[in-house]
Amino acid sequence: MTRLRTAALVGNPNSGKSALFNVLTGARQKIANYPGVTVERKAGRFMLPSGEPVELVDLPGSYALDAASPDEEVTRKVVLGEFPGEARPEVLIVVLDASNLEQHLVFAQELIELGRPVVVALNMVDLAERDGLVLDPEALSQSLGVPVIPTVAVRRRGIDALLAAIETAEATAERDPKAHKKWHLTLPERRMAARTMAQGAVLSETAQHRLHASLDKVLLHPWLGPPILFALLFVMFQAVFAWAAPLQDGLDGAVTALIGFVTETLPAGLLRDLLTQGVLAGVGSVIVFLPQIVILFAFILAMEQSGYMARAAFLMDRLMARVGLSGRSFIPLLSSFACAIPGIMATRAIADPKDRLTTILIAPLMTCSARLPVYAVIIAAFIPHRTVGAGIGLQGLVLFALYVAGIIGAFCVALVLRSTVTKGSASGFIMELPKYQWPPLRDILLGLWQRAWIFLRRAGTIIFTVTIVLWVLLSFPKAAAGENQVDASFAGHIANGLHVVLEPIGFNREISLALIPAMAAREVAVASLATTYAVNASDDDAAAQGLIPRLQAKWTLPTALAFLAWFVFAPQCLSTIAVTRRETNGWKWPLFMLAYLFTLAYIFAGITYWSAVALGL
């Protein structure tokens, strides 16, 4: 028979399912969304010892088939074969954390009860042994009535035995689909049975010195824990901005070189302009953020896989609770400092829907890396390069203040949203703190590759489309002789209209014009200001150098400060809007996000402008 065999990995969260999935399927993974829900579908293939391929899905971690979240709903439907378009998996590979049998056996029993071929992977036996717990897989296999294979996914231990067991189970599936029909119990009965089975499987248990307990003593210490977390975050931000710089310069150079190459190679005309001014300049300006995103994610993945991220959430929970959120929102908001897009995608881990929505709505207020080029140019042009107090530069202080303004803004907005549009009972914080383990390099690299690919694909689709549309708006209709192309274009006419609205907050016509293409991505504002001021430069840095004296000549200080205040809030990023639409399944919330952020941007830019004018700056 040549039909494709199917299997699914099922188990509690923190059972090491994903590590096992990575070992079984290697890099041959397909990541997509289940249709209609924002739950990630991870699928891949592996080979049985006989050489036959098996399609494997990694189902979201669940505690029971009785679903409590959209993730668990997917697991339940796929396991039962009720998910439209998903084949019912023939073999269930139930993954258990060896040191947490009492908990994990509850769900395992429910799955075995279904009467389908089951293979149990008794995972992370090394961590259990490190804690002085030695188990007998044979005893467990006898009480469960299914094969139990001890594994250490991150060290590739037990994988061959697991594959052999899957092959055997798969063969029984063909012979007798109902061969495994077992007991049917209620939840308290299952829990009782789990306790008995877990105790029955213990060969020896010593109260050995537990590594994670002593690490927690330091990392969760009321006085030591927070400084350690902040020190780690400091190193992370340093890395994101310092380590990425040479790589970004390299990418930037490559894009510029490519633009130069295309300009020389192609004959002058619409196609060349579209490629250089539209596609390469637009998409290129976003690609340069790839190094920062990769470095940030390297830190985040390492924090997650080592088990530290749950501790960070624990430490931050109190602070987040004050604005009606929970420690779980900390992780997405942290990611948003690099880019709101992965941040918003990371909100999937938040179980409470209102909590999640609030986190999505405030994520764009975290100062993402795209704002840096804008801040850098304006600060360099208008904030004097001198020190205030011991070793603190005024320019750095202003940059820091802009970051803080975003964070304070986000917390205030969260507070208001939680008592209005996302009103509801205060969300709780229930989270398992997984055992510490050394993050496996292979899993981190795989995760980085997947994140980078998602980012590049987005740059290749959404950002690509937007830059082309903007290029068309700026290039047509064609200017008559002696007339400025920008003035004649559709965008120029839109800018005239926009200027009427933006004049009261101190923005001149050039700013109004620059804000239009900057809808695609904030940093485009720098390039388009440069273009508008007729500086002959193609990349942001070179443009910035020529731009600064012109800005100093044409802008007043209040205008510059208002422009900075505007960018703390303004949702000038269509990719964020697009990802919000996808994650909230509709236009309602992205439109709300646009409206409230533009309102705040307008109000605060206005306040900044008129305060500065009143102070005589």
């Binding site: 505690y63 409590a68 009492e102 969760l220 009321p222 006085w223 420690g327 709780g428 229930i430 703190l433």
Partner: protein, 79 residues
């Protein structure tokens, strides 16, 4: 005594849980994580920034974080 009043590192058994004060989803989640009448627990850590919230609970070989408000719904007997 309720669980939130338990001193760190003292072992206790949960004797009663007032499920009605917990949100239904959270009650389900806690149950799935093994929090129920008869479960033996100890408080390992308490949070920072005042209020000693949230708390980290040892249950079996698992460490579980929850808010004090959850713990306040659980009556415990010190062992």
């Amino acid at each position: 005594m309720t669980l939130d009043q338990l001193q760190p590192r003292r072992r206790a058994e949960i004797v009663a849980i007032d499920w009605a004060v917990l949100a239904p989803d959270e009650a389900k989640r806690l149950q799935a994580l093994g929090i129920d009448e008869g479960a033996r627990v100890a408080i390992a850590h308490r949070g920072v920034f005042g209020g000693r919230d949230p708390i980290a609970l040892i249950i079996g070989r698992m460490t579980l974080a929850m808010r004090r408000s959850h713990a306040a719904a659980m009556t415990v007997r010190e062992l």
